[in-house]
């Protein structure tokens, strides 16, 4: 069963005794990939023609996010977990960059609507701050690290074939339903007293954007320094 011991070199030059364990002949999944692409496009077209353009748009956006997440191995969980667990902040810094770029784009769109006297899009994402925010995000933080993936990460890994995340997704849904069932209690006791704070209301449009970008920049520097400190302190 092919357990030959021979000194070999991997392509770059690290010497190893290549125990050629029965390597399966690598299948080429590119044809399947092309079928998957055709499927995605076809669903989009069918949705546009049957349910409507908006649903087709959401399908396109979702597919794009999924593709980008997988291609770049992007992981919000790791961005929050690795600084503590492994001392790495490469994803933390990348997430901060995403915050910065979207801040600029979102501010532009919102300001454009504002000065035209139009309703500002996306304001439903400005939500009350209360104990529920703290408790909920704390719970989410624990859960995402244990489960090996956050919300987007879980969906991405379902697409990659991870059985564990398929299970996690099911219980995410169950937990969501429980949360929805209790939401009224949280709302009455905490959320209703919580302020919604839209930073441009406090600091003006320019002030809010500049302040937020400044904070992101400072956090980026902190993350950068943290990783350097961590890697130099583990010199043996």
């Amino acid at each position: 069963m092919g357990d030959e011991q021979q000194t070999a070199q991997s392509e770059g030059g690290i010497k190893r005794s290549s125990r050629t364990r029965t390597r399966k002949k690598k299948k080429n999944q590119i044809p399947l990939g092309i079928i998957a692409l055709l499927f995605v496009v076809a669903v989009g077209i069918i949705l546009a023609m049957t349910v409507g353009g908006n649903v087709a748009l959401f399908w396109m956006l979702g597919s794009s996010f999924g593709f980008i997440l997988q291609r770049s191995r992007f992981c919000f969980t790791a961005s929050m977990r690795d600084p503590y667990l492994t001392g790495s902040t490469s994803l933390t810094k990348a997430v901060l960059i995403a915050f910065a770029v979207t801040t600029v784009g979102f501010a532009a769109i919102k300001y454009g609507a504002f000065i035209k006297g139009l309703p500002i899009p996306g304001q439903s994402y400005v939500v009350p701050i209360s104990l529920a925010t703290a408790v909920g995000s704390f719970m989410f933080g624990i859960g995402m690290v244990i489960a090996g993936g956050c919300a987007s990460g879980t969906l991405m890994r379902v697409g990659e074939g991870f059985g564990m995340q398929m299970l996690s997704l099911f219980f995410f849904i169950v937990g969501s339903l429980l949360g929805a069932a209790h939401f009224g209690w949280w709302k009455l006791n905490f959320i209703v007293r919580g302020p919604k704070v839209f930073l441009p209301d406090v600091f003006g449009w320019v002030g809010a954007v500049v302040l937020q970008l400044l904070i992101i920049a400072l956090l980026w520097i902190a993350a950068d320094k943290w990783a350097k400190r961590k890697s130099s302190s583990s010199d043996h």
Binding site: E11, G13, I14, R73, A78, L85, T86, G148, H236
Partner: protein
């Protein structure tokens, strides 16, 4: 003769392959080679990245669809 250690991380959830690799490397001598079997797309990126940051020689070989070997030579 430098030692070769094989680490089976197949089926592990992130960040377990990285933590296991870290622990394994700690107990190895300079010049030893650690071979991690990985089938997690995040790990095939973050394990080499971490190892390179630590100064080791790293290579990644694709073994099968969705399976990689991360080969780390302990340098210091």
């Amino acid at each position: 003769m430098s030692k070769e250690v094989e680490l089976d991380c197949l089926g592990e959830a992130c960040p377990v392959p990285l933590i296991k690799a870290e622990k394994a490397l700690e107990g190895m001598d300079v010049g030893d080679v650690l071979i991690c079997q990985i089938d997690h797309s995040c790990a095939m990126k973050n394990v080499p990245e971490w190892a390179r940051e630590q100064g080791h020689n790293v290579e990644v070989e694709e073994v099968d669809d969705g399976e990689w070997e991360v080969i780390i030579e302990k340098v210091k």
